[in-house]
């Protein structure tokens, strides 16, 4: 995210009105093509209007297309969406293929994408299916009948071995080794 996007409206990818759960509704409701009849910057737009606009309008009867000629101004695409968004797009010096691609973009998105910064690329209403963790979750069955304070639970978890204990252990080990040596000799 760059500095120019700091004050942009932010949000999550969402389908308005549960679109597609029941039936799909194209969210682009109006498209206005503004262009000049003489200016060179509108040439691609004029080509698009001559060659593709009627087909586009036939294929998409749900989109109202307005064509607005105006003198000596750069060509512009304005899309209006069902959620009230309005997207303004300058197509100065664009060719007709570029313009059809831009119109395809306007047609397939559900709002003005250029005025929204996505906080994440996904969204869910139910972040956890398991539910929140509680201290009672997966508790040991022993803990139910325990009466506190207990001597077991009051012990520290790691009691280091004392020097005396270590000596006793060493002594016992020595005795064991001596016993095994004696037994081996007897066996021989």
């Amino acid at each position: 995210m760059s500095n120019s996007h700091l004050f942009l409206k932010s949000g999550f990818p969402r389908a308005p009105l549960q679109n597609g759960v029941g039936r799909y509704v194209c969210q682009l409701q109006r498209l206005t093509l503004k262009f000049c009849k003489n200016n060179g910057s509108s040439r691609g737009m004029r080509d698009f209007i001559e060659n593709h606009l009627v087909d586009f309008a036939k294929e998409n009867p749900g989109i109202v297309v307005y064509v607005k000629p105006r003198r000596h101004r750069a060509p512009v695409l304005v899309g209006e969406y069902l959620n009230g968004d309005r997207e303004w797009l300058s197509v100065r010096n664009s060719t007709q293929t570029e313009i059809s691609k831009w119109i395809d973009l306007l047609k397939t998105q559900n709002g003005s994408s250029s005025s929204l910064r996505l906080r994440k690329m996904w969204h869910t209403d139910v972040p956890s299916i398991q539910g929140p963790w509680t201290p009672f979750l997966l508790r040991s069955p022993d803990a139910h009948n325990q009466t506190y304070p207990t001597s077991e639970a009051s012990q520290p978890l790691d009691v280091p071995q004392t020097a005396t204990e270590k000596l006793i252990e060493l002594f016992k080990q020595q005795q064991l080794e001596a016993d095994t040596v004696l037994e081996q000799k007897r066996a021989e």
């Binding site: 308005p16 009105l17 549960q18 759960v21 029941g22 039936r23 509704v25 194209c26 409701q29 206005t32 009867p61 749900g62 989109i63 109202v64 307005y66 607005k68 209006e80 069902l82 959620n83 009230g84 209403d125 139910v126 299916i129 509680t134 201290p135 009672f136 508790r139 139910h144």
Partner: protein
């Protein structure tokens, strides 16, 4: 700097034009731009917040195309005069008649229909279908709960939300702009009525399913309807289903006699765990556990199987009054 520039300008002006044929255009900073913009901004601020302008006031606006596109967008075939009637509010029709009378136009020449009849028809259709749908989708929920969910779906806020997102806001003939949520809700009802008149009541049912019933998708049903006195209700349900007497038992607690006390209570019937819940005291924990048990019995947990919005209800199962 500006002083230097003005001096340069004065010198340039004072210099006699040598070749009278060519006039040199002078380029300089336009120093009027920022004060003008500032003044304009000041005036806008002084005027205060302005009302939004209706889209129909723009030059590029064709009401007939808009009406046609409205139907096509929703994959429906409307009769355009009916659809236009559905968008006309009664107050607006009255206002228009009043205006015609003032202009001296003879009455009964052009009668403008309003949407009140279509709306009453649409109310019947929507209510009947939603009740039938809920009966089918949530069969174990008692009638009180189904009514609560139906009234949520038919509430003015839900309908207004659906209506705005169908793009009806700009098409409505109403005395106020933007139209109020009551107007939007009534218009949606009228659209349903117009659809049933144009292409049959089955299409209207599908419209209700696809645009109103889908509002239940991913909703927590407990937020829409929470049973009052859950323990009592649970007792009744358990006797109905012969599950045995429900009996709350303490599963665990911590922080007793402190501010942060928490109790974990489970509800059993016939030694079977029905539901469990937490609370800051025993009564609240018991109630939460009872609600949890009821949710399981009614199959309205939030991890339930999702609603089936492809459901085809037969028209004879929908009771139209």
């Amino acid at each position: 700097m500006s002083l230097l520039r003005s001096i340069a300008g004065v010198i340039a002006l004072a210099r006699p034009i040598n070749s009278a044929t060519t006039v040199q255009t002078r380029r300089h900073f336009k120093r009027w731009v920022s004060p003008t913009l500032r003044e304009l901004a000041h005036r806008v601020k002084k005027q205060g917040v302005q009302k939004p302008e209706p889209r129909s006031g723009f030059v590029e606006w064709n009401y007939r195309s808009e009406l046609f596109a409205f139907g096509k967008r929703l994959n429906e075939d409307f009769q355009l005069p009916l659809l236009q009637t559905a968008f006309t509010q009664r107050t607006y029709a009255h206002q228009e008649q009043e205006r015609q009378r003032k202009l001296g136009i003879a009455e009964a020449d052009l009668q403008m229909g309003d949407n009140s009849q279509l709306a009453t028809k649409g109310v019947h259709i929507a209510k009947a279908y939603i009740e039938a749908y809920l009966q089918n989708a949530l069969p174990k929920v008692p009638p009180v709960g189904q009514q609560a969910i139906a009234s949520y779906l038919l509430s003015t806020e839900t309908l207004a939300h659906v209506c705005t997102h169908l793009g009806a806001k700009e098409l409505i003939f109403s005395t106020e702009y933007p139209p109020s949520s009551e107007t939007l809700a009534q218009t949606l009802h009228a659209i349903i009525g117009a659809l049933s008149d144009s292409s049959g009541v089955e299409r209207a049912f599908l419209f209700v399913r696809d645009f109103i019933c889908t509002q239940l998708n991913q909703k927590d049903l407990l937020e829409i309807w929470t049973p009052e006195q859950p323990l009592q209700l649970l007792g009744e349900i358990c006797t109905q289903k012969k599950l045995g007497e429900p009996e709350p038992r303490l599963l665990g607690d911590c922080g007793k006699n402190t501010v942060l006390a928490a109790y974990h209570v489970g509800i059993y019937a016939n030694r079977q765990l029905l539901g469990k819940g937490f609370g800051e005291d025993l009564q609240m924990a018991t109630e939460t556990a009872a609600i949890d048990a009821l949710q399981t019995l009614f199959e309205m947990h939030d991890d339930r199987q999702p609603f089936d919005f492809r459901l085809q209800l037969e028209a004879k199962n929908v009771r139209l009054d």
